[in-house]
Symmetry: C2
Subunit: 258 residues, 2 copies
């Protein structure tokens, strides 16, 4: 439980931003940088009902750090909403709206969520005065792109049950990286309908896929919780290989070439 201890310590010192890049490049952040980031949050808000917090095409003067809960990135089709990715606590979910000005997508909350807001003028100061922190911000947005790429491949490669298994495996790992998630699974407010949107399927088919996962003993979904009896079975079924998360894998930053 080394990681959880680490997470607790970070959260005690930096209650709003202690999970940012935790399990990844946070180890390279100095105390001064951590304080600067923590102090950049001027306001927090807790949202208990599902709500769209960022609208495609709108201009905002702040970005949001996800402190607690889950949010989805979505794109609206003519008839329905499509999920393109999701976020867990510690993610700087719309950091890129600082550089992009208008986002191409929406950000929707799921369940109860706590956000920390960072005004863009604060971000501009950090970009100007803190080159290393600026680099970490860039890195954090590149992580999103890497996760998008992996998901593109999985959409091309996997059937619906395996896609869902992949989503479960990724959420679980990402929660663990930031000190959440437990040995047997994780808590989440995701509904089957949400999972259908996230996996590019329909509610009905997602339900059958979940049934298959249950029957295979890979994952059990009950209200507000995913139970996973056998991590290896889940990850093998999903063909999940976590390197792309840039945690402790072959892609992680470390010394030396090759």
């Amino acid at each position: 439980m080394r990681k959880s201890a680490n997470a607790n310590e970070e959260l005690t010192r930096y209650p709003h931003t202690g999970r940012f890049l935790l399990g990844r490049l946070r180890r390279g952040m100095g105390d001064r940088e951590k304080r600067i980031l923590e102090n950049a949050i001027t306001e927090t808000e807790t949202i208990t009902e599902p709500r769209r917090i960022v609208h495609r095409g709108k201009v905002y003067d702040r970005s949001s750090m996800l402190i607690e809960g889950f949010v989805l990135r979505t794109l609206d089709g003519p008839e329905q909403r499509y999920g393109v990715s999701f976020h867990v606590p510690g993610d700087f979910v719309d950091l890129h709206c600082f550089a992009l000005k208008r986002l191409d997508h929406n950000i929707d909350t799921i369940g109860s969520v706590t956000l920390g807001y960072v005004p863009h003028d604060r971000l501009a100061e950090i970009m100007r005065d803190e080159p290393h922190l600026a680099r970490l911000f860039w890195f954090s947005t590149l992580l999103d792109a890497a996760m998008h790429r992996e998901w593109v491949m999985k959409l091309e490669q996997l059937t619906a049950p395996r896609r869902l298994a992949h989503i479960f495996a990724e959420i679980w790992r990402r929660l663990e990286m930031v000190g959440l998630g437990d040995a047997g699974g994780f808590d989440t407010p995701l509904t089957q309908s949400d999972l259908a949107e996230m996996s590019g399927s329909t509610t009905i088919h997602a339900n059958r896929a979940i049934k298959e996962l249950r029957e295979r003993g890979i994952a059990e979904m009950t209200r507000g919780r995913i139970d996973i009896p056998d991590r290896d079975a889940l990850e093998a079924f999903a063909k999940f290989e976590p390197d792309y998360l840039y945690g402790e894998g072959t892609l992680a930053h470390r010394e030396g070439p090759e």
Copy 2:
């Protein structure tokens, strides 16, 4: 033909980097910045055979500007290669390997390609001394993420023929943004097998999908060329809405809020 004239002028002055962000934020670049970028390219190379120029997990000390031709971002599955996105001239294809150190994916050439190499120590200087250029670099990697998101949605939303139509529509628009592509379509070395990899399909099914596009009069694919008789028909069929490319659309940078 305002754009082409613009492209020609930029290419005369900046033969290697004149297409970078052309049709997007290049208009915000000063001559000094354009020169700095042009001079950052210390070497060019032309590759005529399909080849993997960036390998997942390897460390490089330079990044590549695509000057001529097409490249694919790919991920290797156990049995086959999966395409996750593609690039056209003017794209700084592996700029992010500067910040990510090791890339999560490969970059493979298609047909004949000319690349310009920028050493990472040059990039480091630019990041340090040229904040506006640094911001544009960040923006350029965020564009990739936006294109990934759109493609995730399209994979979830569209059938194979429409996916192919979307790929055609996007390539065409992106070529036009950088002064390539003509009124009736575009030249490309893409094979049906490449398109299958890019669309998450099989060669056989891609072939049938192309047949359908031909029969519908939406696109004609002959060796090395895509002909498109009716742009509106193509884009409607593909549900293509180019805003996500951050060219001249509702998401583009412009003055004023909302």
